[in-house]
């Protein structure tokens, strides 16, 4: 089947088998190996990417289901050679040990921060419920997400260094809370 998918700002047109999983399309056809396969059962969240600005597990989706949609992977976050503030916060808070869960953790953290701009400890842990770290390095991950929240606050730091994550989060909450 023919699909057209925008991945990290580039539109790709490809012929794929319907049974091809999105994560395999990203890794094997597009070479986006920054997105990894962890458990292959939908539990670990290592393969998390954004589909139209919402986090999804790319091993839980068929590539054909992404036809006509926008995908953002960990490889699409940096801008002009500068890391996304969540990437920077993971780096400076030592929020990784082996690093395998990190791409998924960062993609989910960005999603979480789009809904909760100043999350407390519990909110971060709930928001990262679908991501497992087998090194059990959760303390620093939680710290990094909270640090990233401060870095991304409007008015934080000089204007020219401010990041916006609008390009990966197009959230339009339905109704009100």
């Amino acid at each position: 089947m023919h699909i057209s998918v925008n991945v990290d700002g580039v539109t790709y047109a490809d012929e794929v088998e319907p049974r091809l999983l999105l994560v395999h399309y990203l890794r094997e056809r597009l070479g986006k190996t920054g997105t990894v396969v962890g458990c292959d059962t939908g539990n670990c969240g290592a393969c998390t990417v954004h589909l139209d600005g919402h986090s999804v597990k790319s091993c839980q989706m068929l590539a054909v289901q992404a036809n006509g949609h926008d995908v953002t992977t960990i490889e699409g976050l940096a801008r002009d050679g500068k890391l996304h503030p969540v990437q920077e916060a993971f780096h400076s808070n030592h929020a990784l040990q082996c690093g395998f869960c990190t791409p998924g953790m960062i993609m989910q953290a960005i999603d979480l921060l789009a809904d909760e701009s100043d999350p407390d400890d519990e909110t971060v842990r709930k928001g990262l419920e679908g991501n497992l770290c087998r090194c059990t390095g959760y303390q620093n991950i939680v710290r990094a997400v909270q640090d990233a929240a401060q870095r991304m606050k409007p008015g934080a730091g000089p204007v020219q260094e401010q990041h916006s994550d609008e390009h990966v989060t197009s959230k339009q909450p339905v109704g009100g809370e």
């Binding site: 319907p18 292959d40 998390t48 839980q60 054909v64 679908g130 339905v174 109704g175």
Partner: protein, 274 residues
């Protein structure tokens, strides 16, 4: 693992989807968000000959106000249900249950109707659908029909849907102003409920005027705890009334009986506390 081969179809209308299902025969399968079906395909627990992806049927998404009821489109995602103000105001129990489903990534893709049609007895939405008297609105080759939740869940992973039918909308009677709680016991984050209790209570003039209690994962489908409901109505929402009523929760299994009673007590206590 990689799924077995299948033919992929992407209908642009409900009528086309129904026609495709009829043409492809009973080994075809509808895919909604795919958060249950894709793992099943990958593990090759199922190998449908064709997948009919209803992801393009935008008319099946969203929540509408329909007088005394809400109409929840089958393709409305859990994420949308969580944030919908109509659900919050008129079916709070559904919002609270949906908050506990899987994890954020799954809630972005997984759908309200998909969960009901998958009919996993450990799935969270079955018990509240039953407790709130939801009605399934179904399309098939012969037109539309409606099936109440009490008749929809037939057995493990089995519903009243015929192989050539599609769930369109779910009508949920408004429970405006009811307080609610979902009490779920599971071992670890993301795990299915061992037992869970969905409770909604209406309190008027200091007394419980109506109560709805549904049990998750105590049998081949959701169970309505009618004896518990009956023991609550007309009583004041006190600790002794609740603990007395909770003892009437029954599952036919010793261990789960005990769990159901304890969790029913907790669910009702939290619900009446608002």
């Amino acid at each position: 693992m990689i799924p077995a081969e299948f033919k992929y179809l992407f209908p642009s209308s409900v009528d086309e989807a129904v026609r495709m299902l009829a043409e492809e025969g009973e080994d075809a399968k509808v895919i909604a968000g795919g958060q249950s079906l894709v793992p099943v395909l990958r593990m090759r627990l199922a190998a449908p000959t064709a997948l009919i992806d209803i992801g393009g049927l935008t008319e099946l998404t969203g929540v509408r106000d329909d007088g005394d009821s809400l109409l929840i489109g089958a393709m409305t995602t859990h994420y949308e249900v969580q944030r919908d103000h109509l659900v919050h105001d008129h079916a709070l129990l559904l919002k609270l249950v949906t908050d506990t489903i899987a994890d954020p990534q799954i809630r972005h893709r997984g759908t309200f109707g998909g969960s009901l049609c998958h009919a996993d007895p450990a799935g969270d939405l079955l018990a509240p659908a039953l407790a709130l008297d939801a009605v399934m609105i179904i399309a098939g080759p012969g037109g539309r029909r409606e099936v109440p939740a009490s008749e929809f869940f037939v057995d493990y992973f089995t519903t009243a849907l015929a192989p050539d039918e599609i769930l369109l909308d779910v009508r949920v009677p408004k429970h405006t102003g009811w307080s609610a709680h979902y009490e779920k016991l599971n071992r670890v984050a993301q795990a299915w409920s061992i037992v869970a209790v969905a409770a909604a209570v209406q309190v008027r003039d200091g007394a419980i005027s109506a109560a709805r209690v549904g049990l998750t994962n105590v049998g081949s489908g959701p169970v309505r705890a009618v004896d518990v409901e009956a023991a609550l109505v007309g009583q004041e929402p006190s600790a002794s009334v609740i603990s007395e009523a909770a003892l009437r929760a029954s599952t036919g299994d010793g261990y789960k009986d005990n769990l159901a009673r304890v969790l029913t007590g907790r669910a009702l206590t939290a619900a009446v506390a608002g």
